[in-house]
């Protein structure tokens, strides 16, 4: 297992380098100039030049990239183009919001999706199965932001049970944190739960048709034992892959849902950085986003290795 983890981590370094280089390159190809934003419409050419010098925009692309990379390796992702706010500070302020939503969404997804899928898979062809499949299909088809709006109107605007906007840190007030992410996480988790339900159902049906299950049943093992000891563990292998995909999907979905709920998350930071052409901030957002995705994939790989010994040996 250790070898697996080390090899995966070693593979991340070149990948992050490629991501950072491509991001840096693409951001420099974006039309427009942050100097227009900062200086307004009445600046002179000299002011443009001076600000370009200050922001390091007058240097060749590779020099700019090299300087950024050197600082990034020392843990400094740079400073906002507009003020002295550190990119790492901005990321650390906003990442907990997005991770909260992602964890909440995943929690909703697993709590609803997995049991529904198991139930449907074990009762294949029954009314329970048909209803579960129908709900899962509809759930997957609903856009997150639309579900978010559906939840906000009655629960936040009419009855004011949950706040319509804003985030509370769990360190500050744990119950407030749950309330602040409840609606957004539910909106995010709807499609995840639907996807997980479908995947779980399929995996259960598949596993239940395997020879070793038939053998276990033929040996006279109780149904519960067959289901929970043999079927579920094997069905979990494709499920873990799906959960990994869903976490990545939820991170992306959170960017939109944050807007609907006015949450100052990673997505909001990304959108604001793009809107204001704050290149250092955009670069930091993309790199940290890539790191999070890579970390999620690493965890999935490790879990995969845990439930599937073949992966470890290979």
């Amino acid at each position: 297992m250790t070898k697996l983890i080390v090899s995966r981590i070693a593979g991340l370094v070149p990948m992050l380098l490629v991501v950072s280089f491509l991001t840096f390159g693409m951001l420099h190809m974006v039309p427009g100039d942050v100097r227009d934003r900062i200086l307004g419409t009445e600046a002179t050419a000299a002011q443009y030049e001076a600000l370009g010098e200050k922001l390091g925009l007058n240097d060749p692309f590779l020099v700019q990239y090299g300087r950024w990379l050197w600082r990034a390796l020392q843990g400094d992702l740079g400073t906002s183009a507009y003020n002295s706010r550190k990119v790492t500070d901005a990321v650390m302020d906003t990442l907990p919001v997005t991770l909260s939503l992602t964890i909440g969404g995943m929690f909703i997804g697993i709590v609803i999706g997995v049991p529904s899928g198991i139930l449907a898979g074990l009762n294949r062809g029954s009314t329970i199965d048909r209803v579960a499949v129908l709900i899962a299909t509809v759930g997957q088809a609903l856009p997150n932001f639309w579900v978010a709006m559906l939840l906000i109107v009655p629960l936040a605007l009419w009855w004011r049970i949950f706040p319509a906007t804003g985030f509370v840190s769990p360190l500050e007030n744990f119950s407030g944190w749950i309330m602040s992410i409840a609606l957004a996480s539910t909106a995010l988790g709807t499609s995840a739960s639907a996807a997980l339900a479908r995947q779980t159902r399929g995996a259960i049906i598949d596993v239940l048709q395997r020879d070793y299950i038939r053998t276990a049943r033929a040996k006279g093992l109780p149904r519960r034992l067959v289901t929970f000891k043999h079927a579920l563990k094997n069905a979990a292998i494709p499920l873990i892959t799906t959960i990994g995909f869903q976490v990545n999907g939820l991170l992306g979905g959170a960017l939109i849902v944050e807007q609907v709920f006015g949450l100052n998350g990673f997505g909001n930071l990304a959108i604001e950085s793009v809107r204001t052409q704050n290149i250092p901030m955009m670069q930091g957002v993309v790199i940290m986003g890539a790191l999070v995705i890579v970390a999620v994939n690493l965890v999935v790989d490790i879990m995969y290795g845990y439930v599937n010994p073949k992966v470890r040996t290979s």
Binding site: P31, E42, N83, L157, R160, M179, F261
Partner: protein
């Protein structure tokens, strides 16, 4: 609905560790604004004069003079009690006494001089607007003079912006000044309890020297990029005033919130290629005028902006030199537009118009109207924020940048003047240059008004730009809680807003 609510409420309380549900009534004596504008910098001498300035900096800083919402040219007293022109190039300010900054440092003429000197030295985004300043002079502790290179009637108006804001000199070298302001304004920024990009908290200053924040209310600014989220925050009681767009104004009004509106920005097509290098037909004023007559501004205003805009053919707002006649100069008359095109010998005309995506509905409507008279404009969506850079180049024959409410003193060198920043084709306009030059170097208000009027008659009638409408900034607020709500530039004037007596009192 009640049974469902009664089911959900205990469930929510259970989820929340039995805490009571969110209760927006608890702290209604706080002014809570929802805005889409993030803080850029708290250092006024490095700030532009846009919405970030008017939203945040005017709370914590005082200027020598204060912006007058009724006239850009006639500022109100600020840290300067009075001022007078000693001659064409010298203005003397008498400063108020007893002013202290949040760090305890006193304000006096030496501080005023140090601030103006710092602003000139740092050469921030707005320094060009006060480029006429030659030097500053301290006469006594509370008398201060500014000497100019030449007469500048716009000086006072421009000093209402970031260039005239006063910082405690002790904070000049503080690298964190841009995030931790040290001003003398009616509020102190509570950095410890604020989160950049999320919620900014401001604490009222006791014994504030001026008449701002008369109800002594604390203030919170919630940054919500999405206008719908701002409306939701208002409806749910999380904020009591919100800056909205036209789409959200109707629902807010329907729910009983008061609406304030003010035209602050004009939209339209500015012809960069008035010499016809890319599109020869645009060199003929009749063709440009035809475009003006072909557009039904009222219909566009109603359909695209739900009536929250002023259909007009002129870029001038209600201020010095404005001529209401120009509002209706381009009445909707497609037949007249066709005749003008015919007289110019133009049967079909086609050119590219760069727009940003958020302006698509507006320009798609314009496209429709122009097609009716045989003009085919091809809309090309460009990156947000790139129109300014494009207006400096010869890439497109026209530009669709929007412009805020300022007179020709600042617009002429930016848009229409021979040496304007956005005149990449070097189109000469000797008549408007002369008018602007004379108006820009005279303290005679009657002359300035006359020149402005003549200037805008040329801009409109020769169709330097085809103005379509003046968009209104909108705020919706809880009139049971807030009083004296007025809109300045994009944002409500928070300094003079009050919380109604008795609201939120224990």
């Amino acid at each position: 609905m009640l049974p469902l609510r009664s089911l959900l409420l205990p469930l929510a309380m259970l989820l929340a560790g039995c805490s009571p549900p969110h209760n927006p009534q608890i702290d209604e004596h706080v002014i809570k604004l929802a805005t889409g504008t993030p803080l850029q910098t708290f250092d006024p001498h490095l700030a532009d004069s846009g919405s970030s300035f008017s939203t945040y900096l005017t709370l914590v800083y005082d200027g020598l003079v204060e912006a007058n919402p009724d006239s850009h040219w006639r500022p109100l007293p600020g840290l300067a009690r009075t001022w007078r022109w000693l001659n064409e190039t010298t203005i003397e300010f008498e400063l108020i006494q007893g002013v202290t900054f949040t760090d305890g440092a006193p304000f006096d003429a030496n501080v005023a001089k140090a601030n103006i000197d710092r602003m000139l030295k740092l050469a921030g985004p707005r320094v060009n607007t006060v480029a006429t300043i030659k030097e500053t002079e301290v006469i006594d502790n509370f008398t201060f003079r500014i000497h100019l290179h030449r007469t500048d009637p716009t000086l006072l108006g421009n000093l209402t912006g970031p260039t005239g804001m006063m910082i405690s000199p002790a904070a000049f070298e503080d690298e964190s000044l841009d995030l931790r302001p040290v001003g003398s304004g009616p509020w102190r920024y509570d950095a410890a309890n604020s989160t950049l990009g999320d919620v900014h908290r401001f604490v009222p200053r006791e014994n504030y020297h001026g008449d701002a924040n008369p109800s002594g209310a604390p203030l919170q600014i919630h940054v919500l990029e999405n206008a719908r989220a701002r409306l939701n925050a208002l409806i749910s009681g999380q904020v009591n005033i919100a800056i909205l767009s036209a789409v959200e104004a109707g629902p807010a009004k329907d729910r009983g919130f008061a609406i304030q509106r003010r035209a602050n920005r004009w939209y339209g097509i500015t012809y960069l290629d008035r010499r016809g290098e890319l599109v020869p037909e645009l060199a003929d004023p009749r063709v440009r005028r035809a475009i003006g007559f072909a557009i039904d501004r009222k219909a566009i205003t109603d359909a695209v902006f739900f009536g929250y805009a002023k259909p007009t053919g002129q870029p001038m707002f209600d201020d010095l030199g404005q001529d209401p006649e120009l509002d209706t100069y381009y009445r909707y008359d497609p037949d007249h537009a066709r005749r003008l095109l015919q007289s110019a010998g133009v049967e079909r005309l086609s050119f590219v118009v760069p727009i940003i995506s958020t302006d698509s509905p507006l320009y798609e409507a314009v496209q429709h109207y122009l097609r009716q008279v045989g003009i085919d404009i091809r809309l090309e969506v460009v990156e947000r924020g790139s129109l300014g850079a494009l207006a400096r180049t010869r890439t497109y024959p026209v530009n669709t940048l929007t412009y805020p409410t300022f007179g020709p003193d600042s617009r002429h060198p930016a848009i229409w003047g021979t040496n304007a920043v956005f005149n990449p084709f070097n189109v000469h306009g000797p008549r408007i240059d002369a008018l602007a030059e004379e108006a820009g170097t005279s303290l005679d208000e009657a002359l300035r008004a006359r020149n402005y009027r003549d200037y805008y008659h040329i801009i409109v009638k020769d169709a330097y730009s085809t103005v379509i409408l003046q968009l209104e900034d909108l705020v919706a607020y809880d009139a049971d809680v807030l009083d004296k709500v007025r809109i300045g530039y994009v944002t409500p004037i928070l300094r003079h807003m009050t919380v109604k007596q008795g609201v939120g009192s224990p």
